[in-house]
Symmetry: C2
Subunit: 110 residues, 2 copies
DNA sequence: ACTATTCATCGTAATATTGCAATGAAACAA
DNA sequence: TTGTTTCATTGCAATATTACGATGAATAGT
């Protein structure tokens, strides 16, 4: 069906899945890494940096923006994208809590 | 197309995307949380715990197993699934390095 | 006004994912 | 052996994702 039954899971579980889904494509990982690396906004440099077509990059940027992880400022004909540090921190807290579940447990069973 | 062009990205980027994709569905998040919580489990318990049909749970477990994050031991008619702590640690290193990119940077630009 | 540049959106094709009923395979009990 | 339990696999339908050409909207330069 391709339809995730979100209503049967907790808000926490759905939030983790949403963030993870954003990182679930190498193009979006590459975009975020590049935005961090140059530490100042880029626009369509991403199209050159990554090998995908402009509409494709634009689509990935839109998804990241909808999640709030990045923001974009219009500057003349170009758009300046950069990481939203506050949102990134919040996301990191949620994901870290999930990844660090193993710290409290003791040993394997199998 | 629905086809990620993995060849145009680094191994690092593809690995992050693969792990993230595993967490990109609330059912798999719920499965992992439950496995951590009770520190061992069988498929049938998960079917009751989570509200999905048995074949669906089995499919999600298979994906997590293929990634190496969990392992399953056959015990009579049932199968005991649990977290693979070593793999989980390795995954955590990769994901943490990605999430912690912001630590080195200074300020926003937008 | 005209043109070029930059990015967003639309439309569409190809592929992937999700979910489950039906069925199969293996272990166990009687 | 027969039936039961437990999980895996198959097959299929519904939906989601990815990618890009074509096109639109806005700005800037001439």
């Amino acid at each position: 069906m391709g339809l995730a039954k979100t209503e049967m899971f907790t808000d926490d579980q759905n939030e983790i899945a949403l963030f993870a889904k954003a990182f679930g494509h190498p193009a979006r990982v590459a975009i975020l890494q590049h935005l961090f690396k140059i530490n100042s906004c880029v626009c369509g440099d991403l199209v050159n940096e990554i090998g995908l077509a402009q509409p494709t990059i634009s689509q990935h940027l839109k998804e990241l923006k909808n999640l709030g992880l990045i923001k974009g400022d219009v500057e003349g004909t170009s758009v300046c994208y950069c990481i939203d540090n506050e949102s990134w921190s919040k996301m990191k807290k949620v994901m870290s809590a999930f990844l660090d579940q193993d710290l409290t447990k003791t040993g394997d069973c199998c």
